[in-house]
């Protein structure tokens, strides 16, 4: 899986330039790529990218359980960027046999990824907790529901979470 350089990526650059207007689409052979701009601390519109992805997958008649797993992951990732990160992008790539979700944010980064993967560990600010977010289940939930997960972080700079789902294969959700 090739990483995306945040600052050289044309769609992202264009999104930033026009003030983050919703989405841009690139086309490749038999794949569907979509980009969503995530605004930090915008709790009102948080989750809209996930709902959009969910609706796309539903019209493709993927297995409902698989759609649910993808929805949970994209929502948790999106919320992570909203709560912790600065602004970021959600990047979804649907291919014939797999789907990748990539969430990149300009947030403070994760100091200790091992620790952050533990259920219940949270560094969310008080304001997010009061709204019912930031229970420390984001990364564990993502790990539980994704077929493959990769989290890279440069403390102080940015975080990139990349999740892969194999379409057509099922994984039991606990």
């Amino acid at each position: 899986m090739r990483g995306v350089d945040l600052y050289d990526h044309p769609p992202y650059a264009r999104n930033l330039a026009d003030g983050g207007s919703n989405q841009t689409v690139c086309r490749y052979m038999a794949s569907l790529k979509k980009f969503f701009f995530i605004k930090a601390r915008d709790f009102v519109h948080a989750g809209e990218a996930s709902i959009h992805i969910q609706n796309l997958l539903k019209s493709m008649h993927l297995d409902p359980a698989l759609i649910r797993r993808i929805a949970i992951c994209s929502y948790e990732g999106e919320m992570n960027a909203v709560i912790h990160g600065g602004d970021g992008i959600l990047n979804v790539n649907i291919e014939s046999n797999r789907l990748t979700l990539e969430i990149i944010d300009e947030g403070p980064g994760i100091q200790d990824i091992q620790l952050a993967m533990q259920p219940g560990y949270s560094t969310a600010p008080e304001e997010a907790r009061e709204m019912g977010f930031g229970a420390g289940m984001g990364l564990p939930n993502m790990k539980k529901n994704a077929d493959d997960i990769l989290i890279e972080s440069e403390p102080g700079k940015r975080t990139r979470a990349c999740m892969t789902f194999f379409l057509g294969l099922t994984k039991e959700v606990q």
């Binding site: 689409v25 038999a30 569907l32 969910q54 493709m60 759609i67 929502y75 291919e95 939930n141």
Partner: protein
């Protein structure tokens, strides 16, 4: 895919349509398309929420309920009464309303709220037992509103497991009547007709036996608004004369407490349920928003969700006669005057529960078959084409093409059910030319304006 003017729940009257396109946007399943200016088609699944009936100012869309004609003539009429009916009469107690129905010609009047009470107890019992085992998917979703269950089967199939597997109050009521009342008349050779008195257009579908066998007892649904004027007169006479209430052998035929009307209100179902954390959501838009959130894994700490597609719960049903806020005020007054009270002893319900009397009759699989997505799946290439079309069309969702929004229009184009030229932003019609919804395009530059 068939294009039709009618669905099992609603009928379209072309002669009344003004082409205002109000119905286009409100449909939660995006099934309405406008063709030839003033003609609508239902191209996909109708879940019977009644939103289009409410939106249509011209009255061109109506429910498929039957007006009450010749009740009790040549047959035994049994009324199955939704608690919403009680809230329509501020001065009458539920028992007077039921008595009024008997004056109209119904031989029996079955109070649904008592089955709701049983359902509430059984649901709380089910949730309580699953709380200990930790096996159940949280949160559970109320199966009471049939439009919600159909919406889930159609748009949120992964949430079907969350629909509480307890028999719905209407089904409990129908079963009880069929097992205990009808056989008595059947032995006498009398024809029995069941009348559902309803605030919503949701009953029509259930009149058809899924197996295709003819029903022995015709079931008819009547809208409360159709029944209201006659019933009002009968109740008014009752309240002045007060005839003695005749003896009955069926204990569900009367109603004496205000619980009955409470359950019609939003939040009324969970109000008297022994559940630790529950939420009531009403209105179509909020119901969809919360179902989306549940699908994304939120609200796992909530035990029970009461969803109603109508604003203010069943009181806001599209076929109710009195406005929802007035009805709500009536319910609150009734509560104030008569208070709450449990009518069936808990032990009785618990015994029935342990006997398995609350097991649902339909499995989620049946629901998927009946109300699942019927359109063929879109391939990745088709999805790409949709995105390309969306870049071409304006994306303003004007509805001039006859589809509710641009994405649906693009999907129709890809599926071959619409032409890209229908979009008036892709192919602007001449000034005199009219598009499908009859809107004449004005010059955008402002030159032609006076």
């Amino acid at each position: 895919m068939k294009s039709e003017h009618n669905t099992p729940y609603v009928r379209f009257h072309e002669e009344r349509c003004t082409g205002c396109a109000e119905c286009l946007k409100v449909c939660p399943t995006r099934t309405i398309r406008i063709r030839n200016r003033t003609s609508i088609r239902f191209v996909d699944l109708c879940i019977g929420c009644g939103a289009c009936i409410r939106a249509c100012a011209a009255g061109a869309i109506s429910a498929t309920t039957r007006p009450p004609h010749r009740i009790g003539e040549g047959h035994v009429a049994i009324a199955l009464v939704s608690p919403v009916l009680y809230a329509q009469f501020p001065k009458a107690m539920p028992k007077d309303v039921l008595l009024g129905l008997r004056h109209m010609g119904f031989r029996h009047t079955i109070d649904m709220s008592i089955f709701l009470e049983m359902f509430q107890f059984a649901a709380a019992e089910f949730i309580g037992r699953n709380r200990q085992t930790h096996e159940a998917p949280w949160p559970f979703i109320s199966p009471v509103c049939p439009a919600v269950v159909r919406l889930i089967a159609f748009q949120f199939p992964s949430l079907l497991a969350h629909v509480l597997p307890v028999l719905r109050p209407v089904a409990l009521m129908a079963r009880e009547v069929k097992e205990r009342l009808i056989p008595a008349y059947a032995t006498q050779g009398q024809q029995v007709v069941l009348y559902y008195v309803n605030p919503c257009p949701t009953m029509e579908q259930e009149r058809f036996d899924p197996a295709g066998a003819p029903l022995r007892h015709p079931e008819v649904s009547i809208g409360i608004n159709d029944l209201y004027p006659d019933l009002k007169q009968h109740i008014d006479t009752i309240l002045t004369e007060v005839p003695p209430f005749s003896e009955t052998h069926f204990e569900y035929e009367t109603c004496a407490t205000a619980n009955a009307a409470l359950v019609a209100m939003s939040g009324g179902e969970i109000a008297s349920m022994r559940v630790e954390k529950s939420m009531a959501v009403h209105g179509l838009r909020d119901t969809i928003a919360y179902l989306q959130k549940i699908e994304m894994g939120l609200f796992q700490d909530v035990e029970y969700f009461e969803f109603r597609t109508c604003r203010e719960g069943c009181l806001g049903g599209v076929l109710s006669a009195v406005d929802k806020y007035m009805a709500r005020s009536n319910v609150q007054r009734m509560l104030h005057l008569h208070g709450l009270g449990q009518r069936i002893p808990s032990n009785t319900i618990l015994r029935l529960y342990d006997k398995g009397r609350f097991k649902p009759d339909k499995s989620p699989l049946t629901l998927t078959r009946l109300f699942g997505d019927r359109k063929p799946a879109l391939s990745l290439e088709q999805m790409e084409r949709i995105e390309r079309i969306l870049e071409t069309v304006a994306g303003w969702g004007c509805g001039a093409c006859g589809a509710p929004d641009c994405r649906t229009f693009a999907e129709d184009v890809v599926r071959g059910q619409a032409d890209l030229e229908d979009c008036q932003w892709v192919h602007p019609p001449q000034a005199s030319h009219e598009c499908h919804t009859g809107l004449t395009r004005r010059p955008i530059t402002g030159k032609g304006r006076t």
